[in-house]
Symmetry: D2
Subunit: 342 residues, 4 copies
């Protein structure tokens, strides 16, 4: 069994990593750290783990983490970059679920995240952990930047269109909706049930940190700068992202076949039959992205619908998928559950 | 007190009319019909009306309805058109909350609604009941077609942009999200809480009946044909519509001032301060449309956020506003409540 | 118009007071205080009040408050008791929506609320503001302790049974369920939507502060000590309390008539027809308590179902009802809205 | 691999069986029937099963079902009893998830279920499938009556108290709350999200079909007639049952130890540490029942809190547990997932 460490395990991505790893056939969580909860059993905070994970949180300890084959960082932005260099130096592989290593342009990163980067050179080395784009280099990576939730849903949804050069890049729109778990487990008035229940709103319209990440992804795919309009919204529910994507496409192309061909060998991207409307609940708890493509009234605007569970394919699940690739396991190990519906 | 009739009062728009009219200073519900529930007290089905409305449902009766000053139809599509001619002939004014008189092009209506129209000549006479567009003609109208919920949110949101000739009409997108009450109170598997709770999806992407209504509205404003891409989605909540609107706008225009000026004298349209993100709960139970305008990163795509309560400004509230205009009351009579938040 | 002050207006009971007072025919909010938000327009935090309340929060100022006819305290427990003596001395009447003046036994209060009481003598003078128990003395009161939310639902539900001496007092059980707004608007992990959505739990089973308040109420009614088992639960919704009450009743009594007779002249208590099951939504946003009485299988256990909106009859609405009594207005002024359903 | 049949697979218990069996190491669904959906792929109705179950619904066919090792009936009450005799005669084992074989007293069953029983003799033979009560006889059973959801939560919660003879049987109260999925997937107005969302109510207080089942269970445990008061409520959420149980217990007993000892070897009953309040989400999607015991203020009323997922331990999960026992598999096969939290 591979020995796994998790730094910062008290948030929603932390508990989700534990849920997925609890039944993983080849990996075992050896250490999970939390300064605030050190000494407390994990199952005390997360009773769903009773009987599955018999660990207590510990203070972060470099020696313990170095003894792991791979360490996940489920920490706030800016934490991993301070600890990762030492771990990599000792040969431990790292997957960061925060944003520290996602943006290649350091100046852009520092602008959006409001701090100086502690190890810019490692940013250059880090592999962006989206297997559908980067499978081979992930397999050999020492450091993987796990993608953001919105960027995962949007990038997979636009990928075949952009790759095939079909979309006009002038008017890409990503109208995205997320459940509240995307905001994490920190205490805040804005995320109280009294504030978010039975209501819906957009947020961050002037600018959201996932915008530069999405732009970077599309630019890498297109091999030229790609910009888009990205509007996130907050759903009165817990899990799930729905990206509704708009692009101008000229001419008479069989988009259904294009998408099916592109994702034919991807085990975690499911192109639905023509005419479908994916529901977020169809991926609740699982690592799948389900996609449908529409061309309403046969006009030039193509509408792509892309759903993921923000905590799984948008965070912990994709991280386990990356771990499987990095450690040479079957890519689906620990990720074979069926979505919980209803 | 004006005598009011309601035909088909068992659905959500029916109960909402009763809620608003219960405290109206100048109008009184004299008759409310329902074939299925004839004889049953209204408050038996809707206990919130206990102590407020002391009426029982009755079989529809032409004489009783003709004795009313004004009759609301809160019936399924295709019902009002069969009864309205007789009522109008007797001098009773009519507001239809369904779609029978909304679309001027009869062929278009028949295509989208799947039936032959029973009185095409009255469609020509009917006034589209959006006071922000048609206040003066509504005041004199005998027959008002009350707007659909999505068309209300979208039309008010685009109105100043289109009117001012600022938006390029090539790429208008209306990405809309509605609570489940928009689907009415009919039994259906798809609207069960077990099917709609904790999930989100688009629906009707290939085509939705509100598309021709929105296009007609924008074309009337622009005085030339306007098309758009309209994608409705279903929210896991009961009340509220959020329209996220995208348009290409060239040049450096002060959109905030444009919107504030356009709606300055409108009591039911509230333009929020620059930078705002309206929440649907801020209009829960009230007749207000709240709007915010954004131009992310100062690029060409303008984003308008428009929220209404689909049962109030999107249905019964706008109908009462129209009634107030038609009967010479203060436009806000019966519509002065504060939204229920939280 | 009576001049009204509100101390601590940023919480849910504060905004609810503003909502109800905005349309009150005889009272007007003159000052609303908040140290944290001083200077900020009320409608900035609560956009539902835009166009209805044109006030900004101010620092608490004794002179301004003394100039009011009546002041509501919508503050955390322990705040009102420090400011009330000065206000009363100047002739301003006070309604405290917190718990400072609810419990007559100071030792009991200090034990459950964990602090020393600042003005025990005023506790003796204060009137417990439940009009169905204390209408006449409320009319003459200078200081009213507004009841807690659970105590309101439970006391009204048990009232006729206890008053008539029908219930055995050995086994009273109050199994209560509340929406999350009862916990207020403070930031806390436990009340995040991610923590409370789609889940249900009991809390405070070993002891909850509303237990001594309910016991005191029942003891006052019975004129001897009454104890009960009280178990509160948290509902995954925003507004509403449902109390399910169990009592042993011997003999063949017509409980339906008993309840109807007891509340016949109460405008805010509605006894439903035999066989009913009240829904919390039937009182959403309104000051009504709806009650149904059952005796399953004609056995000795009577089941009373009692629902209120915790923010209205359980807080701000009952406070306005008390204000109406204290200032000689019609008891229902400002409280005539119809519940928002659906 | 054992060959498994499912009769009536389109409801929520049907899809839940498919979800759990999809990853079962020793059982495989060979046939799934539905008259209404015959010919349609299962994953067409339940997209969460895409990639996991490659079956289509078929017309019920006796030969195909007889070829199975075990057949689950996930049908409405009254269906299984017509088909089971033939299957048993051919040696196929049967688990009925409906109520046809749960009540031993045929007259009682016929009264509550409103129909004549088609095979009363089989009722006598059938084993009530609660492994914590009947493990050994289930292992040898040909026909298992899978327990109802409420009866599972209530029976497990009361079990140690009744078994130990500690509870006074005069005043047992089970105040139960269930998510909407307990009502199944049939179209009905009452279960629309517009009717059940953001609201809470009791239902069936005069009498609910699970009352005789619970009474029978407690009577079997006690070996004498046991009656109780059972009040079910409907929660505005999808999955989960919370039973709050009240019993009179005299004397000074260590209830915590009693419960821990009773369930020490039960893999699907988890007694929480003293002072806990189990949340329904802690068992979402899994076969565990979590229980906490309280004795508020050390008085005579004991409060037991018992939570299950109504579709898993309350239906399909317990059915798979029974199947594992009947076919000689490990009792936890297919039931090792971690609850989905948040």
């Amino acid at each position: 069994m591979a020995k796994i460490g998790i730094v910062g395990g008290t948030g929603y991505t932390g508990v989700e990593l534990l849920r997925l790893l609890a039944n993983h056939p080849k990996a075992e969580v050896a250490v999970i750290t939390s300064r605030a909860e050190a000494g407390r059993p994990v199952s005390d905070i997360y009773p769903n783990l009773r009987g599955h994970i018999d660990l207590a949180f510990t203070e972060p300890d470099a020696q313990q983490l170095k003894a792991c084959d791979l360490v996940f960082f489920a920490t706030p932005n800016g934490t991993a970059m301070k600890m990762v260099p030492e771990l990599l130096a000792s040969g431990t592989r790292v997957i960061d679920l925060a944003a520290d290593f996602r943006i290649k342009d350091i100046a852009v990163w520092e602008q959006w995240y409001g701090m100086a980067h502690a190890c810019p050179d490692l940013v250059a080395e880090a592999i962006y952990g989206m297997p559908e784009l980067n499978r081979e280099v992930i397999q050999a990576a020492q450091l993987v930047a796990n993608p953001g939730c919105y960027p995962t849903a949007v990038t997979l949804g636009f990928l075949p269109l952009i790759e095939a050069g079909l979309a006009s890049l002038d008017n890409l729109v990503a109208d995205c909706k997320s459940g509240v778990s995307g905001a994490g487990r920190g205490a805040s008035v804005g995320m109280l049930m009294g504030e978010t229940g039975e209501s819906f709103k957009a947020y961050g319209v002037p600018g959201h940190r996932h915008l530069p990440e999405i732009s970077q992804n599309l630019s890498v795919i297109k091999r030229e700068p790609v910009d888009l309009t990205f509007v996130p919204h907050l759903l009165p529910m817990i899990r799930g992202i729905h990206a509704t994507l708009y692009a101008n496409v000229d001419g008479d192309v069989d988009l259904q076949s294009l998408y099916e061909a592109r994702f034919e060998n991807e085990r975690f991207v499911d192109v639905l039959p023509a005419g479908s409307h994916p529901e977020t609940r169809s991926v609740r708890g699982v690592n799948t992205c389900r996609i449908a493509i529409h061309r309403p009234q046969n006009k030039n605007i193509v509408v792509v619908l892309s759903v993921i569970d923000n905590l799984v394919k948008g965070a912990a699940g994709q991280a386990v998928q990356n771990m499987n690739l990095m450690l040479g396991f079957d890519e689906a190990d620990g990720l074979r559950e069926v979505a919980l519906l209803p």
